[in-house]
Symmetry: C2
Subunit: 107 residues, 2 copies
DNA sequence: TATATAGGCAACTAATTGGTTGCCTGTCAA
DNA sequence: TTGACAGGCAACCAATTAGTTGCCTATATA
């Protein structure tokens, strides 16, 4: 679960979209995820493998199906240990204020 | 300043190290940054160009020198608008994950 | 059992990336 | 004015990556 693997996994828009899909509906199978991506099953499978390698997605076998679950822990770790250091001070306060004014939202 | 450019810029360990260097001492020139990286000047220059493209670094010409400054705004934006979404349901998701992953499994 | 379904593995291609070397421009200072 | 210094531009190379196609195994079900 190296930090580099997480950053690299997050660098691809297709993989971020996969995380978004799982965030919207957790536990989807490979074929279910394929239908939302304009890509072959094998293409999606490779991206999922990279997300698994970064521990951003964990899976569970259910018979012949494989359920994919989002694991937000590595993202939280990055936010805490790396991004936090660049957010300190005034910008952090502004971001917080902005969030409060916009109210709690998923987007 | 697309989000994709920021993610891609952050994906490389050399570029993250450059940001760390600027975080430690802001306004360094290209040659100053080169001395801390085991790389040619042109290699560092390319990385800096990518960071500039993502607006993570802004520059100021001073005669024949070019000072590089860290701009934390895009990082704050990512943390606020994207990572926050996955951190929000962090505890709930982890509990949910734990529950689902319990039970008989061949992994 | 036979067949359709869910997924895995491997090879291959095309594009991108990280890094190099070589040369050029612009600026400062003796 | 002349040389040294800071940086930019472009070509090039090796390694990685995104995506494909083809074939394979395993499981569920008519």
């Amino acid at each position: 679960m190296s930090m580099d693997a997480v950053f690299k996994a997050l660098a691809d828009p297709t993989r971020r979209q996969l995380l978004d899909n799982l965030h919207a509906r957790n536990g989807q199978t490979l074929n279910a995820l394929c239908k939302e991506m304009g890509m072959t099953r094998q293409g999606v499978s490779k991206h999922l493998a990279i997300l698994e390698e970064a521990n951003l997605v964990v899976t569970r076998r259910r018979g012949r199906e494989k359920e994919h679950y989002l694991n937000p822990a590595p993202i939280a770790e990055i936010a805490d240990r790396w991004i936090g250091k660049f957010e300190q001070g005034r910008l952090r306060a502004l971001a917080d204020l902005k969030k409060r004014l916009e109210g709690p939202s998923d987007e």
